[in-house]
């Protein structure tokens, strides 16, 4: 499976999640952060599952970053992350904790946007 870091993956993306699993609509966002919990892999996990867990064993990354590092489509990265969260191997944290309030449609709050504005202004050199 991994004969070389720079080779194209040999496993088609749509098989990376393992045969027989029934993916549900994802509850994860591409910006959900994930980190390995320390729970060991089981026999039914695929080599790609292993690579995901290893990638986030030293720190947190978002689902979209995991997909990019492993050269997988974003949706496959999400699906893998979802499986591993439900198996207890990854811990997930949502991008914006209070964004699921019905009035907000996932958008950042006014307070958060003001924090963004101040942060961007302080990064300016001139």
């Amino acid at each position: 499976m991994s004969r070389g870091q720079h080779q194209r993956r040999l496993l088609p993306a749509y098989l990376a999640t393992g045969a027989g699993s029934a993916p549900l609509p994802s509850t994860l966002d591409t910006l959900t952060a994930l980190r390995a919990s320390g729970v060991p892999l089981a026999a039914y996990h695929t080599p790609v599952h292993r690579r995901v867990v290893e990638l986030v064993s030293g720190g947190s990354l978002t689902a979209v970053e995991i997909a990019a590092y492993l050269s997988l489509p974003a949706s496959v990265g999400l699906m893998l992350a979802e499986q591993l969260v439900s198996d207890g191997l990854l811990k997930a944290s949502v991008p914006i904790p209070d964004a699921l309030a019905p009035s907000r449609a996932g958008r950042p709050s006014l307070q958060l946007m003001e924090e963004v504005l101040n942060g961007l202004q302080s990064l300016r050199v001139a």
Binding site: A68, S103, E115
Partner: protein, 206 residues
Amino acid sequence: MDSSPSASPDPRPVYLPEGDHQRVKILVAGPLGVGKTTAIRTLSQIPTLHTDEVMTDAAAGADDLSFVGLRDKTTTTVAIDFGRLTLPGDRVVLYLYGTPGQRRFLPLWEGIAFGALGALVLVDTRRLDESFEVMDLIEERGLPYAVAVNTFPDSPDYDLEIVRKKLDLAPDTPLVTCDAREMDSSLNSLIALTAHSIASAGVGAS
């Protein structure tokens, strides 16, 4: 324009800050070659990353991804380039998603646009009309946006009022000039967008 994926992505990931933080998405939209990747690279603190999204023409349930089912479906991949910018204090991490925003990728666009603070639309004065499609898509989603004229060395002289008129922008839509290669210039574009998102919050939204 250099939207080709890097030959060997850095195998060592740049992890997120350890403490509690929120992650906010900003779209950088516009036609191919307008400087999206350049702007993202200028602003990003990590090497820019690249992923593809796959769409089948039967954008139905996951069952269609079965081995047999995939064979006779048309598949398209759409590139997403993105970068990351952690704001001072490590409490907010910005993600900049580069997207051409074409209508034929509408299902994908819905997912990309969801939850974003807003969109920075890059335009090239030599081909303003190529930006209409993405601006329409953004407006349909009700996403706040700002327009930045990327100044290329050989772009003709432009008058921002003429650009505003040609793009038929609302009076309150920010229109700025930007050199996507320059940090402060790119930051100023994001600042204009964020200020606009703040101003329009609560005015129009649901």
